[in-house]
């Protein structure tokens, strides 16, 4: 095609654009929001972190009758700014965003569109106008519980398949501050039960590859770990699978994953992303929302917790379960203080 034709094509596109630019102005946020967007860096279907958030979004849609949309970036940085822009262009009034990998972009968009409510989930991102509300989870507390559960399991050789070594494992997605916080709490919890317990961690380097998760878990099981805590979203589903195949144990994360591999998932370290999202939205709906806050969700606030159900009781003896419940109430009351990673 000749360059002249290319030129006329571009010219045509430009003219069309000018003719059809329907000013997408950032209108002032309406009194009651109509549209809610949920932007995630990764993808749904992990039965864990992102799905937990989606449950909260679905609840908002049902209870408040607003339109909701989820934009998945699938860990593709090319889509990060597009996702934010699409939400703006769609005229979302409230944007919940899990912004791993595009914190800078979120700050710029929040500064540029101050009339929208930007709620950043799971990390703390502060823009210069201080309009981003942050939902920060105290992972250390939930992970402390997971560590305690893992320790109670590995020290109890009467449980089927548990060896005499006091080794527990963990598989993280990336080596990042949030995963480090999980590990920090996990280790504290384990040492609270028995100071001689050794924690071994492997980072899979990916959040959406169950095969790598499985390899990492098998590596830990072959090093005589009895239980592996997965902190890796979809990658972690491979950890749960490995546990079932090796006749060992795993601990789930974020959502209740106990039933995914029955008899092999001892418990799950709950991170109630959905509840937190729902909670923040409720403050918007009843006009008590304050932009720019950092909301901390730990065990006391119900943001973190441990999923103890029949699957757990199938594996752990009653006294261990009893002990976990006691620890949970001690953390909640402040009798046990869990040290924060940063």
């Amino acid at each position: 095609m000749s360059s002249r034709r290319l030129g006329s094509f571009v010219a045509a596109v430009v003219v069309l654009t000018m003719a059809m630019t329907v000013g997408v102005m950032p209108g002032a946020a309406a009194a009651s929001p109509q549209k809610v967007a949920y932007i995630i860096n990764g993808g749904l279907g992990d039965l864990s972190f992102y799905d937990s958030g989606q449950a909260g979004i679905d609840r908002i849609a049902k209870e408040f009758g607003v339109q909701t949309r989820t934009i998945e970036c699938g860990f593709d940085p090319a889509r990060y700014s597009q996702a934010l822009q699409a939400a703006v262009q769609w005229n979302a009034d409230v944007v919940f965003v899990i912004s791993y990998g595009f914190e800078d972009l979120l700050m710029q968009y929040a500064d540029q569109y101050p009339n929208k409510r930007w709620i950043n989930v799971d990390t703390v991102v502060e823009n210069s106008r201080r309009t981003i509300t942050n939902v920060d989870f105290i992972e250390e507390e939930g992970a402390f519980m997971a560590g305690a559960a893992a320790a109670l399991l590995t020290t109890d050789t009467t449980i089927k398949g548990v060896n005499s070594d006091k080794i527990i494992g963990a598989v993280g997605g990336d080596d990042d501050p949030v995963i480090r916080a999980f590990l920090y709490g996990y280790e504290q919890g384990a040492k609270y039960i028995d100071p001689k317990i050794e924690v071994r961690a492997v980072f899979a380097g990916t959040w959406d590859d169950p095969v790598r998760g499985k390899q990492a878990a098998n590596q830990l099981y072959s090093q005589r770990a009895d239980v592996v805590f997965q902190i890796a979203s979809l990658t972690g589903s491979g950890v749960l699978e490995a546990a079932a195949e090796a006749g060992k144990y795993a601990i789930g994360v974020d959502s209740n994953q106990n039933g995914l591999q029955p008899g092999h998932v001892v418990t799950s370290c709950l991170k109630n992303v959905g509840d937190a999202i729902y909670g923040v939205y409720r403050t918007i709906a009843n006009n008590t929302y304050k932009p720019g806050e950092v909301l901390e969700y730990g065990i006391r606030q119900g943001g973190m917790g441990l999923a103890i159900d029949d699957y757990t009781r199938q594996i752990l003896p009653a006294r261990s379960v009893q002990r976990l419940v006691e620890i949970q109430s001690k953390i909640s009351s402040g009798a046990i203080t869990v040290k924060r990673y940063q």
Binding site: L16, T17, M20, I71, Q82, A86, E103, D104
Partner: protein, 363 residues
Amino acid sequence: MRKQHAVSAAAGVAVSLLAGLAILAIQGYPVWQSYAALFSYSLFSQFALVSTLNKASTLVLTGASAAVGFGSNCVNLGQPGQFLLGAMAATALGIFLDLPSWAMLPTVIVAAAVAGAVWSGLAAFMRLRWKMNEFITTLMLNFVADGVTLWLISGPMLDRKAYSPMTAMTNPGAWLGMWNGLSGAVAVAAAALAAVWVIWNRSKFGYECRVMGHNPGFAAAGGCGVARNFTWAMLLSGAIAGLAGGLMVTGGMQHRFVKGIGANYAWDGVMIAIVAGNSMSGTALYALFFAALQTGAMGMELETAVPSEFALVLQAIVVLFVVASRESTRLILAGLAAKLKARRAARMLEAPGEGGGRHGSGD
């Protein structure tokens, strides 16, 4: 030749949009609303158009890189690695060098291209020295580049304040400007494409490369320095891919090497070069089209809940149709041309005499 490309391109785009229409209708999505959203989020607003152009600037370069390679019969499939190393070179220099913009930008951009060329040059060297097929070596070098850059951004170059693996921001001297959201990378990419177009279509080297692409035996017999041209074509191909990576860091808004920065740009570029039949202007047009699809897909998902993966379906149909129909389009066009010629000749023959009425009734 050119007419044939334009016809198959237009037909491919039309067929893909029609097939997409059918797919949407079968699945019960609002067809027209979805298409309206697809284009209003990719072309018909200032930001939409700007986003499409920004994306196209990357695709044009990865596409041109693949076109230079394939068009000269070098199977460079190392664009992903060359892209990453280009981005890494731009990031590293951007962080450790602090110069005024006029000195910094050219340095950083050239370094990115050089890094890409080094990576493809390595494969070229292995081909010439040990006869290792570049098809394999370039692919394998992608894994090396991926591993090395991931290690750098989660280890030595990690930004400790970040929540996921990424480097610190580069110094502002290494940032290309933005005009109303339009990245300076678009201008650099356009200039680079123009330069490659001239080399490819107007220089002796480009001519020899194209001959090598069509018929390597003829090129060698005709006196082209095949080994030398192979090396330079590989280097050029790698440099363009490296440049694309460098522009991801110098342009845009993030100005750092984040995990997964290469996304799918390189493979999209390979696909674009294939549909464009390794022509530079075709590469530019398909890059724009693919960029528009990818940009608009997210808007379509928002407005009518059509999964954004739908853009991939459209792309795949274009590729399949254009590539599969290239030969038949050529035959059809050649057939039409021959028929016209025959008819004209027949008329010429008839004109002097009083030809029978049966002539000229088609067929």
